[in-house]
Amino acid sequence: MESNIVLQYILSGITQGSIYAIVAIGFNIIYNTTGIINFAQGEFLVLGSMIAISLASFLPLALAVLIACLATTLVGAALELVFIRGLKKWSPVRVVTLFLLIFIIPFRSGLFDGFPFLANMVFCVLIAAPIAAGIEFLFKRFVKSTSNVLRMIIITIGISILMREVMLHVWDEKNRALPFFTGNEVSSIDIFGAMISPQVLWVLGVSAVIVVGLNLFFKFTLIGKAMLACSDNKTAASLCGINVKWMVTLSFMISAGIGALAGCVTSPLTQTQYNMGSTLAIKGFAVAVLGGLGNSTGAVVAGLMLGVLEAFAISIMPNAYIEAISIVILLVILFFKPSGLFGSAEASRLKEF
């Protein structure tokens, strides 16, 4: 293989890999504070870029991306508050979220399309409000707050299906893409004979900023340290006056936010479709396990490794099977060294495999 082709493969691998690493870090943040693997992690990327694509049609690109990230962060918080926390008392956030979710159904299905727009809205509100109130009542009355792993897995799977379906109905099943941040589809930069799109530099830059930023956040800010404390020992953390519940919410917000940002920067390259979340999630999980679950530095290394491996696999394997490679790696790692390449076997013995 010629050296510039090798370089080309490596660069495209690193680009893909850095996205996997971001997804894996999203898994890790939530896993560290809650012990839950959030199966809906991939959907955060898709949601972020979908919102940004819609906003970019009438807003400047930077502003659209910013708003999209903030909105996804809020969705992450809302999901945690509604489904994970299992609050027993009345929660306005939950009512509003439920209301919006239910509102979409009659509105998008065109149940009252014959009526003027305002009447249509009013009818939908009349349908959605009592249902939302009813579910809220059920929450207050019946929710069992025992948490077991099987139950949490199934809930997050349900969330991911729900998010995917909501995105399908709000947007549609078409491929969309954000405009390139600098240049366009055909502009390319020559790096030692390998041609790359300027967007690749954006992806690498943003991923680096996210990784470094999170590291600084966890090391040097009080909230970051508090979150680390929660992952270490929840009881001890709450004895120190840390509000563990809000730290969990915050972890969902952060992973949703970085997910959305990663989704936005890759959207021009890979395009966005409503159902690509689950593939991203399983690859991200493979990376998270490869790097040792909960270990974010390991996730970066493992992400880059998997990305490069996939890029080279394209040259020797039929394209259709590429999707399976990361999963085969995941299975092999799970069978032989579930603590990951960088996790310690002693520490992992305490975890539930």
Partner: protein, 361 residues
């Protein structure tokens, strides 16, 4: 002894009742979806055994369904003329190993007979289940869920990428499955009622096997594993072996469902192996109440029937997502054990008892 099989007789009674109702009412067009739901419920009862009784989640059961369906579809549509000469083929045909049939262009081709394909499909499913089960079942929780999910995705990727298996189109023109001369799995309109009973015969057979299993040493061992694996282990139960056997049995049931449904519909596509399908099976088991065989059977047939009839419209997947979340939040033990329903059923039972007593007087 009879008490054990009473639920089976009740199921049979309901099945017959529905058939009479539909035939007399002229609603025979419902049979197609009822038959499909019945075959899907073979997967559901197998998964119930695995999830509810052995306590192991599998997000890859659609993969086993597809393994069964695709193996049978491939073997019964493949052209063997190039492999053996005509004399050998007609000899094999008289031994029921191969079968003479017409391809879409009207040419006569020889393929394996459905029974041979069925046996091969089941053997492959058993092999794959052992191969996957031995390492995967050492895992727990998220890791088990992700590993089985990964298995399902691999199967679907392979199906989508292999042109010999029809890639995105799947395999069509799968012949009817002649079980014994005169009785065949087919989608011919005239044989709808017969096929309805064939489908339910297989479901009841599966239930019969599972009920016997659960009432044996194995069943008690499984329950102890579900309760507390360490404790079961310390009592000398080989937990990993029992988990593996349950996994294999549930894979076999899923594969059998795949074979029958493929012959019934005459085709199979890669979407049958999709993550969405696997999640749907898990949702059905959760709704039915995990360790409630007849609950999952009921909910499986109900939900699949409604979904196949298209009553959920474009919200088909969303319905299953909402069901998953709702059940896990409000009724982790299944919809049939919600307080209200429990209350209602005990209320009815009380009234019935009073009524009976008064009658006796």
């Amino acid at each position: 002894m009879l008490a054990r099989y009473k639920p089976l007789l009740i199921v049979l009674g309901i099945v017959v009742l529905i058939q009479l109702l539909l035939s007399l009412g002229g609603w025979e067009f419902f049979f197609t979806q009822l038959i499909m739901s019945a075959y899907y419920s073979l997967v559901v009862i197998g998964l119930t055994l695995l999830m509810g009784y052995a306590g192991q989640i599998s997000l890859g059961h659609a993969g086993f369904f597809a393994i069964g369906g695709y193996t049978s579809a491939l073997l019964t549509t493949i052209d063997l003329s190039g492999l053996w000469d005509k004399g050998t083929l007609s000899l094999l045909s008289s031994l029921f190993i191969t079968m003479e049939q017409k391809d879409p262009y009207g040419n006569i081709i020889y393929s394996f007979s459905p029974w041979v394909a069925f046996v091969v499909a089941i053997l492959i499913a058993v092999g794959v289940a052992f191969l996957i089960g031995i390492p995967v079942l050492r895992l727990k929780g998220h890791y088990l869920a992700m590993a089985t999910l990964g298995f399902g995705i691999i199967i679907q990727t392979v199906l989508l990428g292999t042109t010999a298996l029809g890639a995105a189109d799947g395999i069509s023109n799968v012949p009817d499955f002649t079980l014994v001369p005169g009785i065949q799995i087919t989608d011919r309109m005239a044989d709808r009622v017969m096929n309805y009973y064939i489908a339910w015969f297989f479901v009841l057979l599966g239930l019969f096997l599972i009920i016997n299993l659960l009432n044996s040493r194995v069943g008690r061992a499984l329950r102890s594993i579900h309760g507390n694996e360490e404790a079961a282990n310390s009592l000398g139960i080989n937990t990993s072996r029992y988990k593996l056997y349950t996994f294999v049995l549930s894979a076999v049931l899923a594969a059998a469902g795949g074979v029958f449904l493929t012959h019934y519909l005459g085709s199979i596509g890669p979407s049958e192996a999709g993550v969405i399908k696997s999640v749907r099976y898990v949702a059905i088991v959760a709704v039915g109440g995990m360790d409630n065989l007849f609950g999952t059977l009921l909910m499986g047939n109900l939900l699949n029937f409604l979904s196949l009839r298209g009553y959920f419209g474009t919200f088909d997947e969303a319905v299953f997502g909402i069901i998953l979340i709702g059940i896990m939040l409000f009724a982790p033990k299944g919809i049939l054990r919600i307080k209200g329903i429990k209350y209602l059923s005990s209320f009815i039972r009380e009234k019935l008892a009073v009524f009976k007593r008064e009658k006796e007087k």
